[in-house]
Amino acid sequence: MLKPAPRRGRQAQRQRQTLAGYAMLAPSLVGVLGFLLAPVLIVIVLSLFDWKLLATPEFIGLANYRELFSDSDVWHSFLVTLYYVLICVPGTTILSLLLSLLVNRKLRGMKYFRALLVIPWMATPVAMGLVWTWIFDPGRGALNQFLAVFGIDGPAWLSSSLLAMPSVAAVHIWQFAGYNMLFFLAGLQNIPAALREASALDGASPVAHFFAITLPLLRPTMLFVLITNVIGSFQAFDTIFVMTEGGPGNSTEVATYLIYDEAFRKYDFGYASTISVLLFVVILVVTISQFVYFERRTTYDFS
């Protein structure tokens, strides 16, 4: 290091550094404060107003919230969202975990298999939503044509209120299983091989080893995968917009779709804001509970 500068010089240097620091932060600070934090505060304020297009906004206190809790459309949309999350998150997590065990083997050409499995992650969701709409097409679609080869008469996937949601959720799982596989793969590669040898010496079967050793050691990765998938699937919109538009009936009308509908088709900004505040709170509570659940458990560090 340099020898200490005289006192005044150091003070001037500190000032210069403060100035440089804030100058470099300035653009992103505008973004973070203006376009991320301020909107959160504004949406809470909006939720206290009767704010419709062209009408003068009127402060109505908690009236929107009272309406919200007795609004069966809102309850329905949150239950539908929960249903979607409960298909997508376990589906994606289990499939990506199994895939990661498979691609963790040392086989020739493995890096190409890994790459191919990740490709769906980059797909534009609206484009892929339309591609899957074509695959699910009851008459000419690939799925029912394929089933017809075996003499099975496939259903109208997207226009059945029973099958529409699982079909839309399948697209999410298809898109993100390979992507999340990479996180589990990174986690698996951090586990020392000596542990497997040790448990093999003790006579543990691969399955027993997986549940007793591998899975607990993957907890940090598991937390990351669960949290990102839960947050993502609570906000599902793009594929639903093109595949079912919330239907048939309102069987796939997830919360984000309802918010979009209230705000940008009915122009009821106040009420739509109230629904988004509720969605925000739900996502926060679920995310924090996941953190708390995983924090309580021991984590292991081999680094």
Partner: protein
Amino acid sequence: MSRFRILPYGVLVAGCVFAIFPYFLTLLTAFKGPGQLFETAPWEPGLPPSTAAFDRLFASGFGGYLVNTVAVTAAITAGQLLFAVLAAYAFARLSFPGRDVLFWVYLSTLMVPPVVTMIPLYLMMQELGLVDTWAGLMLPTMLGTPYAIFLLRQFFRTIPADLEDAARIDGAGRVRTLLSIVLPLSKPILVTVTTLAVVANWNSFLWPLIITSSEDKRLLSVGIALFKSEIGVDYNAVMAGSLIALAPLLVLFIFFQRFIVRSVAVTGLK
């Protein structure tokens, strides 16, 4: 080969076919004529290939959507990279009052879902007169994302400060050190951040759908989504449109496959 080898290969091949099949189907359908769509099975090619669907698409202004999407993705990504690098460098290397508090503020905004901010953002843009403008489309995201700033800052902190001190003793200023020392050493994380940004910006849908309305500012994602209502269910044209949206990222992926697979894995680690 023993069955212990055949089984994993079989499952892998099946998984990869399942992952790639929708792309394959898009390609086949896009090049079929309307008659061929009904005469062939979905997984058979239409012979001879027909570009009628693309002609229909480009006649309805799809070329413009493509140009818009390329330009907007490039502009937002460039802005995000520039401003995220600056912020990350300040957080990693400079000391100034309020730095740590601000870093926590940035991190906390990782928790804010876009659905929650879209209504206030729209009303803000309305106040600023920026609805249906390029500025309104790009401004909310192009000043840098907290996630990119976080990833870059963590990486910058692993670069030995001695290297920079040496350059500074030689008389290099902050900007020089950043450009000639820090950034060349940060290539892996820059590839990661750029990949995530390009994919997110290219695929972005909800905000463009809300904030733009005129056709000359329409992006591909919005264009293909509004297809159904504007042209009706015409699978040839819809698949041709999807192909145009999907192909560029796929080509990028083929070229940068090695880096992308590695870089995605990096983002999951703390």
